[in-house]
Symmetry: C2
Subunit: 294 residues, 2 copies
């Protein structure tokens, strides 16, 4: 298997014929009763995530555990997160840890060690990629890129987020275009270094661009030709298959589209057992996105 993240992700897309990123957000208030019964919430959340992984791996381009939901469970939440990551790894599907970390210098290096699974002690596995926030500039991002380079992993930088107020700062007009365009140019620069571009033509430096802003999504696709786009905001947040079509290239790669609630908690809508419901929802989303590819 290629040691380059973008090539691993491209291979996973080809094998599954899926551009679906399944977000693993274990929310105590939404977990199915079968997982909760008489169990510690941390145990229940891990059981739930493993069930989702079993049920949906064949329809998934990647899994995206959300650190926040694990951290919120208990002070031991990160141990549960790494348990889930190790399990997901055994499925062979790439793993993007969504943690939006950011800091400077040696502190960013510490975060990079932590989120790529290179802890000082007790690391058991690795993530394939992580998400980071660019507000601190290059020297806040470089420590993540450096670890990623060492282990053939990827980094997704927040560029244009999916939330209603993302424009408050990201859409500010600067001397060089909108702020999100300035960030996009940095992402393109970081990702254009030869060693960071895989055989598939995409870089290990990707970008987070929301499905809820389809015009900017198409524009950012052009501005960052080498960046794999991680596209949140599909489904529960309002993004549709048509909205994300502009994220893909003519070969049906170049992006993965995330859904969390719409897959994880599909059982609450359709009355099926949670794993069957999630599998059905993931398959449906896969097919919906494939139907809009050029």
């Amino acid at each position: 298997m290629s040691t380059h993240f973008a090539d691993r992700l491209a291979a996973a897309v080809a094998v599954s014929d899926s551009r679906v990123c399944i977000g693993l957000d274990p929310r105590p208030d939404l977990l199915p009763p079968v997982c909760l019964q008489n169990k510690n919430i941390v145990v229940a959340a891990v059981e739930f995530c493993k069930g989702i992984i079993d049920a949906t791996a064949e329809f998934a381009a990647c899994f995206k555990p959300q650190s926040a939901y694990f951290e919120a469970l208990a002070p031991t939440g990160l141990t549960a997160l790494w348990d889930v990551i190790a399990y997901a790894r055994s499925s062979g599907v790439p793993i993007i840890l969504d943690c939006k970390r950011n800091d400077i210098g040696s502190t960013a290096s510490a975060y990079a060690s932590a989120c790529f699974g290179r802890h000082h002690q007790g690391a058991v596995t690795a993530t394939d990629a992580v998400t980071v926030n660019p507000y601190l500039g290059s020297d806040g991002v470089e420590p993540f890129l450096s670890v990623a380079d060492d282990i053939g992993a990827g980094v997704f930088v927040l560029v244009k987020t999916s939330n209603p107020s993302s424009g408050e700062l990201q859409d500010l007009q600067t001397e060089d275009g909108y702020l999100y365009e300035c960030v996009a140019r940095l992402v393109d620069d970081w990702g254009s270094i030869e060693k960071r571009v895989g055989e598939c033509g995409y870089s290990s430096v990707g970008a987070v661009v929301g499905a809820t802003y389809p015009e900017q999504l198409a524009q950012l696709r052009e501005l960052m030709p080498r960046a794999v786009l991680l596209v949140p905001g599909y489904g529960a947040q309002g993004g549709t298959a048509r909205d994300v079509a502009g994220a893909f290239d003519g070969d049906g790669f170049g992006a993965v589209v995330n859904s969390s609630r719409g897959i994880l908690y599909a059982y609450r809508e359709n009355g099926l057992e949670y794993k069957s419901a999630a599998a059905e929802a993931a398959q449906h989303m896969r097919d919906a996105i494939n139907s809009v590819l050029r």
Copy 2:
């Protein structure tokens, strides 16, 4: 004791006659041999931080544990972090958890629960304040403010960070001034709501502004008259007492200045036992800052 964060911090500054924030960054490569010997690195880090807390509490306005260094130790690092936070709390000194979290909607709410110590299960104590990154705009910050309002805690928003490349994005010129000024106006808006302003006149919504940019520090002091400034970059990063003078009001409040390495690892410079070295360094920094107050 006041239930308002800014009032608690003002009281701590008055009692200690100190504006020093002591950063708790347990770095495996810098820990003193006495803490390391034959011990698990997580145990060693906790022992070290508790020793620092014992030695420096009398010279500290607040403690600022840095989540990254705990997370990097092991998957159990956050359990160690909360052990240290509980210990720091028993000293009576306010605690700012430096985690620079950011996300949207329910995910930001999950982070807010986690970093203020309101875990779904197993929370044992609380932090007095946390740091957040503003790149996602108001709806990425509001969930943190909401929890802070509920428990009388504070939120420090990154405005102008201390690192060399902080200007790449933060100093971009927009239609409404530099980006950091736009963020500062948001901070001022968020913090001006009546319930967020304490008896001391300062708000529970503060701002992170680096000591390494003294001109911007003085300017931002004016732009955010109600915001307590958390000022990193002193000492090891190059900021001096003179550089931070502009952060304070005429009563010697309005800011706390962080030092981590320069206090924690002073033993490596002066050969003293680590606790004595840290106490001496903290006292020295307290006196240096007090000497430049207006």
